[in-house]
């Protein structure tokens, strides 16, 4: 019954033996020991398991792992730079207290990353829309929204500096 599938996680190619019915989250957490993505409900409701597949945010707890064949998967573990520096979105969540208990945070940051990759300067409503599938019980979302908008500023500033340097 087992099948071998190949995909890329955080830039590294992987080959895993899986049961066809397994969701991606199970493979990430149990087979690849990438425990950053969390199981909050197992039903695609809470968003704690959000990772990016080919740049799009998905609920990995209900995403069939076979769908990932040949694709690029990005998890929270893939955001820290090779110099061990936090990604600006991660830094923004600390600076603006978008983190409390931290359980929703990896999923929240991945949804934010997907949004900012597509829309580098979102309005508050656009941020709220993009995070609508990520539940948080601690923050009331206000400081999460502030964190994402702060991250957008940091990223735009970085892009400008890089652009000016070229």
């Amino acid at each position: 019954m087992r099948r071998t599938i190949r995909f890329t996680v955080n830039g590294d190619p992987v080959e895993v033996e899986v049961q066809p019915h397994w969701p991606l989250l199970r493979v990430l957490r149990d087979e690849l020991e990438l425990t950053g993505a969390k199981m909050g409900c197992g039903e695609g409701e809470c968003g704690a398991c959000t990772v990016l597949v080919d740049g799009k945010p998905i609920n990995s707890c209900i995403y069939p792992v076979l769908e990932a064949e040949g694709k690029q998967v990005l998890t929270i573990e893939g955001l820290v730079s090779s110099e061990n520096e936090l990604h600006p979105i991660q830094q923004a969540f600390l600076d603006k207290a978008g983190v409390q208990c931290g359980f929703c945070t990896p999923g929240m940051i991945m949804s934010a990353k997907a949004l900012l990759d597509m829309n580098p300067n979102p309005t508050e409503d656009e941020v709220r829309h993009a995070l609508a599938g990520n539940f948080c019980r601690c923050t009331g979302y206000v400081q999460i929204v502030e964190s994402v908008r702060h991250a957008a500023e940091l990223l735009l500033k970085n892009a400008k500096q890089t652009g000016a340097g070229e």
């Binding site: 039903e43 983190v99 208990c101 829309h129 948080c136 009331g140």
Partner: protein, 792 residues
Amino acid sequence: MAEQFVGKSHPRFDAEKVTGKARFINDIKAPRMLYGKILYSKRPHARITHIDTSKAERLQGVRAVLTGFNTPDVRVGFLGDQIALKRDKVRQFRDEVAAVAAINEEIAEEALELIRVEYEDLPAVFDPIEAMKEGAPLIHEVDARGKPRRNNILPLPWKLEAGDVQKGRSESAFVVKDTFRTTWVHQVCMGTSGCIAEFDVNNNLQFISVTNVPFGGKDRLDMFLRNLGIRGSTRILTPYVGGSFGSKLDTDIYEFIAVLLAWKTKCPVKILFDRLEEFTASPPRQPIIGTVEQGCDKDGRLTFRVVEMILDNGAYTSWGATTPSVMMVPISTLYRVPNISFRATCVYTNNIYAQAMRGYGNPQATYVVEQSMDQLAVEAGIDPIEFRLINANEPNETSPMGLKITTCPMKECLEEVKTRLDWKKKQGKHDGHGVGVACFLHVGGGARVYRSDAQGLILKVDDEGKVTAITGGTDQGQGSETIIRQMVAEATGFRPQDVNIFQGDTEICPWDVGTHASRHAFMVGHAILMAGAQVRAKLLAMASTWMGQLISRNLQKKARQDPDFKIPDVDLSLLSNPENLDISNGQIFLKSDPDNKLLRLPVAQIVRSAHMVGTGRGEMIVAEAFYDPPNEMLNAEGKGNLSCCYTFGAHGVEVQVDQETGQVTILNYVAAHDVGRAINPMLVKGQIYGATIMGAGYGLTEEMQVNAGRVMNPNLLDYKLLTAKDKIPIDPVIVEPIEPSGPFGLKGIGEPACVPAAPAIANAVADAIGVRIKDLPLSPEKVLAAIKGKGR
């Protein structure tokens, strides 16, 4: 000297959480670990006539199958009214009937399917009022001591009488009386419940637990081990906790079951709830039926208040049954009321049982009192805010319950609401657009619910110049990892980034009563001031021994290396008196010459010299504190100064009600809070935002639909949490009266904002539609029905 770190919005320190490195219970595995699963009752009230586990036991990969028939009869819970695995009968759908440990989760689940349980149904009762009647089915035939029980009323006669209610009634020009209801709501922590239990060869239990009361949990598990006849003790380790909101105060039944499975198998056993179990088998906030009668004189001054509460306790008892002790606080003391009578009755039913949730009874009590306040204001013809201002609590007064109010900016908070909402223009129109207000008070300086309300703390300074704070407290997201660093830095003279924190291990950390009652910042703050002062004194004494010779040596070395360098003419003897020295940013310097770089040394160098001095003469820097605040346990009459200060505030809400759909939209929300002093204003706002949204959910959308004992919406699709899309424009107003009893002037802020949200929203909706809805939540269905039924 102005404070350097306290009072600043320092960024959070918990980088592990943004990188995915933070290890929650979900992420922890142990070698040889087994997975435990629980079989729950299929009936709300039935005798268990037979359990057949033979097929489950034969399944490959199963290591243990336990039931009430093959485990010792050890009572657990606050009133000792249950055993972990039920044997005689089941009393609710969440009753644990059997448990399995297997090599993986799939096999454990398959094994549960193979267990056959035969039941003989008993008549059930789901309504607390029915359950109180004579002849109602008895949920418990005997109490924990085997004494027969005659009815379903718990032996917890919560009662508070103060003043003379009859006299107050006779002095009243206006009196209102009404009954309000609240429903079950769940804490819905994003991280579900879980634990790992493991015995060592000496029968000691290592228990990885998501508790926020590690030492209380240790006591309960130690007693469980003793009653099982196991000679060993418990060490509790606490990983990152994915939220609590009260849900992690008690030791829950699944935790005792994990211990039983670990003892049986001698392997580590993990039980981790899925979301369905979290909703159906973890205890939420209990519902109440609250009848309130109160009056005022012709000038609007409150004359008396009588409150009767009935709590649906469910089938067993956890902390939910003790929430009336906190309900007493607002019932007796929210506004100045001279004559009080309060009675609460907790009733066993075949429903799910309840424990604590953010506010601990205060949200229900304030919901009841604050709606009645609006009704009385209408009766007396006084504007609701003016009515509250007439009756507002004042600083330095003692309430009928014996609560000694210190600082109290309630009036200031009400004025903030009035101004920021433009109250006068908007109130009283009943045109679908309305405003509402509700105040609150809550314990702000701990609460003496046990004989100790203390927290222990150890500070040590190492020879890298770092301070480690070893604390018995826990963090479940509130930000203690940030404010502890700010306060330790302030108290000791280091920088926040030089402070490390160690917590979550009962074997190493000093004792603490638990992170509950919004007490953590208050207690740890005091302990930090006590231990921090010792650290400073010890460091300065150590520096006075070492600085002169170290600096002299440094100067001579510099002179040898640099022929142009002339040793300055400084009086190094000044350095040998600790009173001449001070510490800042981890550097020790001469007070009289603070900018002189030659007369300044890093703490690291001094501590290292003191460590390396030779046999028998070395020293280290460690200080400890055990802070127990000057608050009182309630006496037999329910009176006493429960907390050493109280926090106050007012929430004001502006709503628009859609007359066609009943949908309530919040247009403006002012949350004015007395916090004593904000150690970190950004994190204080985080508590206000989060608790307000939780309270708004209580008011508008959240409800565990419990039908004949069964939770009908045990998932995140049907249990309606507010999401990022539900934009509520909260304006948090931080009022800082600087509390004299608080460390750095602070008061607790963890729970308060959850308290007044629902009544403020209910009052705004009543103002908008001209009719009052008396039970939570204010769903569009109820609002629409209220609008349609208005003329009747």
